[in-house]
Symmetry: C2
Amino acid sequence: MFDDTTYTQSHEIALATDLYQLTMGASYHALGMQQTATFSLFVRRLPKNRAYLVVAGVNRALERLRDLRFDAGAIDYLRSTGQVRDDFLDILHELRFEGDVWAVPEGRVVFGGEPIVEVTAPMIQAQLAETMLINTLHFSTAVASKAARCVAAAPGKQLIEFGLRRTASIDAAVEVARVSYLTGFAATSNLLAGERYGIPVAGTVAHSFIQAFPNETDAFRAFARTFPGPVTLLIDTYDPIQGTRHAAAVARELASEGCELGAIRIDSGDLVAVSRAARQILDAAGLTETKIIASGGLDEIDLMELTGANVPVDGYGIGTQLGSVVDAPTLDMVYKLVEFDGRPALKLSSGKQTLVGPKQVWRGTGADGRFTRDIIAARDEPSPGNTWQPLLELALTDGTIHADLSLEQARARHRAELALLPLDILRLGGKHASYPVEISATLSARQQAAVDAVRLREGLR
Amino acid sequence: MFDDTTYTQSHEIALATDLYQLTMGASYHALGMQQTATFSLFVRRLPKNRAYLVVAGVNRALERLRDLRFDAGAIDYLRSTGQVRDDFLDILHELRFEGDVWAVPEGRVVFGGEPIVEVTAPMIQAQLAETMLINTLHFSTAVASKAARCVAAAPGKQLIEFGLRRTASIDAAVEVARVSYLTGFAATSNLLAGERYGIPVAGTVAHSFIQAFPNETDAFRAFARTFPGPVTLLIDTYDPIQGTRHAAAVARELASEGCELGAIRIDSGDLVAVSRAARQILDAAGLTETKIIASGGLDEIDLMELTGANVPVDGYGIGTQLGSVVDAPTLDMVYKLVEFDGRPALKLSSGKQTLVGPKQVWRGTGADGRFTRDIIAARDEPSPGNTWQPLLELALTDGTIHADLSLEQARARHRAELALLPLDILRLGGKHASYPVEISATLSARQQAAVDAVRLREGLR
């Protein structure tokens, strides 16, 4: 989102990259290096408090790759830096992404080291995709992975995404709403996300409204009378117990006017004690259908504890902790050259080895239908058997996207996938098991041969 | 940034809000509540590893407030939700922000509880600003505050912002580049930020380039010959010591062709040992002017340790840790009603009390010119004396921005401000002192009177 409307979207997507992608492209061009390269995008190791990742952002990445264009303004700017060769800039406006992309569909689960996207294209095109692909996939996958934990921590509860105000940008916040819905959230407070993706929107009143009236009861009465439909009242501006009593009294008083107290919301304090007391007050007033929503800096560990305490809460608002992925804000997501001109490629930088060549990930299924283990294999290997599913699918060829772009489909895919994962993988709170991921014998042998060849060539022991 | 170009920017800014801002607005409208409200935006408590915050994002927030418009598409969408009253939607397209905004200028330092922005406007307008203001200021201030720590940790070194790929969105990444520059970074790898703000751009080559050649020396030679100007070579693809030797050899070999080895970059491993060994190799080869750049997941604590070890590194690339503000990704930034229709307003929610009324923050100066302490006062109090500076300035009135929007001015303001802060506030690593922030006697008395009045009115002890 830019305040200067002379920026077009494709202009922004093209220039939202690191300078070195262009300086490398210019050198490849000058050297006539048009050979085919394959890059692999993956997360090296999972954060210590993640047992799995939920893939998200793939669809937008495919669209951006398909639509990549350098317009005259972008090229003029690059020329002004003096750091990109003119002979490359002269042809840059004709550059299009013409390669093949294999990708894991949105909503599927992946583990450390497993390729999420693999790109095969002429070197300049494949290299230029790097910054955009990581930028587009990293945040979406990090947020989806946390949102999925929230859903797992509060079975049967309605989760509402409240993160907009403390998320890094408007666009990032819309993406938080989208991927939260993908993983099973019921609604968002974010109107732009609601409009864009058809996600249900929720939210009624803030503390400031209550404060603007002579007293809490007057505020509740005024809001209930002017809100169209069942109202949610926020009860903790002054005192949550008394606030619940005020809300119940107003609900009874205005029932004859057709006002209905749909829910109360508790946004601070001891949620266990307050929700139990509030439930008693509401029930005693005959408001047994009135729901209780809790919010206030909650994360999945809070949800797990509240679920364990069996609190009478019907739904949760989840905001800040999700939108900034506070407990695991970054993933070690990288995009590495694995093959160039038919030769395997790798680096030996300490702790940063990469698996050579195009790959496939196979997910094995046991007799009960649940997933048992994954195998990372070379892409040209046959399937390990008919109980194995390939994770990577051909998603973009010749400028045409083959991936399914529907959010509802991704949501259904995610729900189905989670139902088949081993239960000990889904456990929260750091005591999860590690899902078995193996490397095929063929890929291991090719990897060792490539490492030996590089060491020999570079004179390293 | 949206892939659907039918979205205009003002459409996005208007709808990038929480539903409850509109449902409250609709109720205020239905109730005829047009009285003036004052809201205060501040960070309740600093994260435990922050001694100060650097204000950023104010200028864009002012622009968005000035330009706030609900277009026909936004109003149609709101109508479709069935949750916003029609009588409000009928007048919403005419709504403009007409209030006064007081703000702390970008680049200045603030502490916990100090107002950063105060808005005085008719209630509906002031309320509608909430989500946008926090969304615009929260991330910028969080990043600027971390970037300032990086600058403090590496005195005299060139810092380059590398965060684009792992920042939450393109727009967020451009803002990371902008506020890093504001706090003293020298350059960014982000071309879009370079174009938009005139920030110097930097970056030359990645590991993939090295891997695409038969061997490292061939890669260095090819890149040095095709890059316009002094080249930076990345030396750790296979082995950093041998890589440095290869770089030095290529530099000598190609000197006659006019190629100059501007720098080497080390992106992994033991930066202390490798940088020292690399410096020796370069110096022995007569390349005493070649600089050493280090990168690879660095944060300000790493920089502090490297500075302490007096490593021969000339510049650092700082990316992931900065762009996601990994050690303090969220601030407890809130926007609270403090006065309505001439009456003080406050909430009593546990741990969330707010200071009533419009305010000013005064910063005191000692005999040596350094800042000594701050006083949060009611805005109608006189200055504590002529050695005190007011932090809040009138920034927007009648749709006109008075704040200075220049990035270079903000950068200079920040540099000047930091030079006057007590040194023990600037200390890194968690052992910093706490800067004294007091509340004036007048404001304290008004606060107590307001608390007493609310408790009496609501029947609370």
